[in-house]
């Protein structure tokens, strides 16, 4: 297991006070944060290029924060890849094994299998200047994995690629992770990347860890509004708790004078009356009710009548923007294309929407 405990970095341009990350063996862990939040500096401190002010780093049982980079058994793929331009692809790949004075024979089979998975067999005698963007990424990944590091650090592995190559590298990383199970810490500002590839993630904003959790934890249950905003979540509202229905374990929340009945499971902490909270309404859990169709009892708690104010075709689904009749709240509803067609929706059409219990998430 990789453990980073209380890491503090103090540089002229950047400071970080207390970073904790735990990564299980074979886990693909994302460190997610906005551009310019110092993610690369964190990676460079983990490698050992900057001396942390405080904190400990364990690689397995070994404490490494005082070791030089070459003794840490961490491979690094920087954003610009830094393939050695004066070495052929083959020499690049074998660099780590040779630098560690390991016998190439012991790595033969492993490196061959990597070359196959990465489909770089035909590139071995070329030089990096003669490779395409996708090929360079594959070679850089292979070079990092060849010496069997205990931790692989990736810095924005999919940034700056054309969509088709991005998809290819994404699939490759997935295949690689499924077949070889390397332990990976990947920094990125792209939450979609993290959602598609990460097992677990640490959300890091303004020098603070906002949330650590599995992919579903983070995306479905953001801990704070800052985390939710960074993750690109819409439908975030400021509200106030004003009462409880204890026998059914529910609370009422007031948003702009509208009342929402929220189940206990949608809250992380105690729902004390009078407390101000941030509410997230999950767009994909809101239903647009078909006219004349009976409504389940459980849905009747949060029903609103209003109009469609805008519609956006998102390709795989539609986003319908709803505003209640009194103009007190508007939110986005995400519906599958077939449902959109069946409901015959258009701008200004009056609709009735029901918010399932799963629609709500109350943040700290």
């Amino acid at each position: 297991m990789i453990k980073i405990e209380g890491l503090a970095i103090l540089l002229k341009t950047f400071s970080l006070t207390d970073l904790h990350i735990e990564i299980e063996e074979g886990e693909f862990h994302f460190l997610l944060g906005p551009t310019g939040s110092g993610k690369t500096l964190i990676l460079e401190s983990i490698i050992g290029l900057h001396k942390p002010k405080k904190g400990k780093i364990w690689i397995g049982e070994k404490e490494v924060q005082n070791l030089p980079p070459e003794k840490r058994e961490i491979s690094y793929v920087p954003q610009d890849l830094a393939l050695f331009p004066h070495l052929s692809v083959r020499e690049n790949i074998l660099y780590g094994i040779k630098a560690k004075n390991h016998s190439l024979k012991n790595y033969d089979k492993y490196v061959d299998s990597l070359i196959q998975v990465m489909r770089v067999g035909h590139l071995l005698d070329r030089y990096p200047a003669n490779l395409s963007g996708g090929e360079k990424k594959r070679v850089a990944l292979l070079r990092a994995l060849a010496p069997k590091p205990k931790l692989l650090l990736l810095d924005e592995p999919l940034s700056g690629l054309d969509p088709s190559i991005k998809y290819e590298i994404q699939q490759l990383l997935k295949t690689l992770h499924t077949s070889l199970h390397p332990t990976v810490l990947c920094v990125s500002h792209d939450f979609e990347e993290a959602f598609l590839m990460g097992d677990k993630m640490t959300v890091f904003i303004n020098g603070n860890v906002e949330q650590v959790g599995t992919r579903d934890d983070v995306f479905l249950k953001p801990r704070t509004k800052q985390a939710a905003q960074f993750l690109g979540l819409r439908n975030l509202y400021r509200g106030k708790i004003f009462g409880k229905e204890d026998h059914v374990e529910r609370s009422f929340i007031d948003i702009n004078g509208l009342r929402f009945s929220i189940p206990k499971g949608a809250c992380q902490s105690k729902m004390d009356s009078g407390r101000e909270i941030d509410l997230y309404i999950r767009p994909e859990e809101v239903m647009i009710l078909r006219e004349g169709k009976s409504v389940k009892e459980s849905l009747k708690r949060n029903i609103f009548i209003g109009n469609i104010i805008d519609i956006a075709n998102r390709g795989r689904h539609h986003s319908v923007f709803f505003q209640d009749g009194e103009g007190k709240i508007s939110f986005e509803i995400s519906i599958p294309n077939y449902a959109f067609r069946n409901l015959d929706l258009s701008i200004d059409k009056q609709v009735t929407v029901a918010l399932r219990d799963e629609s709500f998430w109350v943040m700290e």
Partner: protein, 258 residues
Amino acid sequence: MTFRYTMIGAAICIFIFYFGLLASLLFSTSLTGFWESLAHPSTLFSIRLSLIAATLATFLAVLIGLPAAYALSRFQFRGKQIVDVFLEIPIIMSPIALGASFLVFFNTPLGEVIQRKGIFFVFEFPGILLAQFATIAGLTTRLMKASLDEISPRYEAVARSLGSSSWQAFYRVTLPLTFRGLLASVILSWAKAAGEFGATVTLAGAMPGKTETMPIAIFTALASANIEKAIVLVLILLILGLVALYAVRLTGKLYRYD
């Protein structure tokens, strides 16, 4: 178009100015006189002395300049800005002033001890080395720093994460990548050392057969109205300089990876 012609005209003027100057040298010498002056033992001595001294001075300047350039390019340390400014001392200071400073230094107690117990510099061959070294060390460091600055430190970071020590990362990755830049710096430094006059003549004097380098020999030839010898030496220095410049251009073509 007037703008374009004005600019190109200026470029051509500069070319004519220098070319005319060089052509006048060729006009003023005859082939037999040229060979006689060239074959003269004192001329050959000056050429040999200049080549040896410039090569040794450049070697010394690289020996200290390369690690210093690396430090200035890669590390943050207290006083870095001051060190950087001091590299330009030989550029802003007149060479004669530099040579005079050495003469003053060798008259201080420390200077006298160095001369008595170590190496004698004043009016001796080591004096030539010291004067040339002093003139080029700052330049060599500055040029090498510029070429190291062009190589992303990320290469070394990756090399180190892959298991190389900082020394190994330097000679396996940074050094080959910056080789042509470093080579160009060495050639330019060497050419500058070979042409050095002011500091050398002040510190090592102008003793024929002992400390008379090519530029000093030009000066003494002119002083004794030996125009033929002066022209030969000027042409040789010029050829050496042009070869050096051409070599610098060639290094740009070698080792180009991207």
